[in-house]
Symmetry: C2
């Protein structure tokens, strides 16, 4: 397959994606139909589809075929907005499911926060949706001493950070983030309804209060095509 | 395969990775040898290896087998350091190859910088290495009016930003970044010596000077397990 032919086919598929009549309910025509329409082989078609999947333009869903991916959500980690706020600010609809709450040690969180390995944490596991698509599986680990009674709250409808601030008077002053691309682990892939090994974006966050006391450690796993990290830097030379 | 068995095998492989005698020159024993040693099937072994690949702990290289991945490079996009500086600061060895230079229009760069679609750019295509592993394929698009004679410079040994500042007196005041995970496109995958579709991290950067004149647009494609984006936020509540 020559580079030029391949790019032309990918471009023609891109045009198809922006045609509201071509993709009923966001679903692409079957591969057989597409191969006939573009007079190409299934092998070449799949390479072009894989290219568009890599760009985050389309995705496979539960073996039901190919779907047009919604625009990526912009997230600026240097700003101080919660999920509900930045999803709504982009005209999208956020939803959260709490999958699990418990209290237990988690050595990874303890190490990140500089606590002993057997330190127990209040653990909240959530799945978050944008416009009814599951895009984020996350585990939050909060130091119990900072927020007594934390797990009695409702973290499907309420922001955890909002509650930490208003109910427990905590500041979330010192935050550090680590972001890297990954292949989604089996558990998170299952929770997000995709195959294990699908490309993902991992975000780890540690939070200390204004007295530098450890507050929270988060592990987030995003679908790779759901998120775009944006950072604006002004005034540095 | 039960979750517990799978996790145990992955943990035992992790121990193997940290044993300097087990992996000669950073190469894992052959899959057949590993399957025998851990008394498991090739299928199960490959699932555990895929998990470690997803975590960025190991990678395949040119069909020569599995290799231990070096630690990810930390990159803080809010700080103002060039590639050579932050690679060396982490005790690693940077190297750069210039693959191509030319002058031509690039509508994507023009749109990002607010210029007409037929605006020509000085284009530099580079491949960058950390400790002799190719980790980054990038294209830099510089507005010719900002830096006359730019393409006569040596951007294998010298920092482009350093030259823009010292030789052309430019400030790189207003920068914005967009980062997202992707499947590496064919061309970049070939340049980095991996299979097309391998997980990658895409970084797009626009740079304006202190008078808000457009200076540069960059497209970077990183190997997914080479980079970790880190951001430290202090003093925000």
């Amino acid at each position: 397959m020559s580079d030029a032919y391949y790019l032309r086919l990918t471009d023609r598929l891109r045009e198809l994606l922006s045609d509201p009549h071509a993709c009923e309910e966001g679903r692409l025509p079957a591969e057989r139909t597409l191969a006939e329409r573009f007079r190409t082989t299934r092998v070449t078609l799949r390479q072009a589809l894989a290219q568009l999947e890599g760009e985050g333009r389309i995705h496979r869903s539960n073996r039901r075929g190919w779907f047009v991916s919604p625009a990526r959500l912009d997230y600026d980690p240097t700003r101080d907005a919660g999920f509900n706020d930045y999803v709504r600010a982009q005209g999208r609809r956020p939803r959260t499911e709490v999958l699990l709450t418990d209290t237990r040690p988690y050595p990874t969180a303890a190490e990140a926060l500089g606590l002993p390995a057997d330190q127990p944490f209040c653990h909240i596991r959530r799945r978050r949706f944008v416009d009814d698509r599951a895009v984020l599986a996350e585990s939050l680990w909060v130091v119990p001493e900072r927020a007594p009674g934390l797990l009695e709250g409702d973290y499907a409808s309420h922001s955890l950070w909002g509650q930490l601030r208003s109910r427990w008077g905590l500041s979330l002053t010192h935050r550090s983030l680590r972001l890297y691309s990954e292949a989604l682990p089996e558990r998170e892939a299952a929770e997000l309804g995709v195959a294990a090994g699908t490309a993902g974006l991992s975000v780890r966050r540690t939070i200390f209060d204004e007295r530098r006391r450890p507050v929270e450690y988060d592990e987030e796993h995003w679908l790779h095509d759901a998120l775009c990290i944006t950072v604006e830097l002004d005034g540095k030379a």
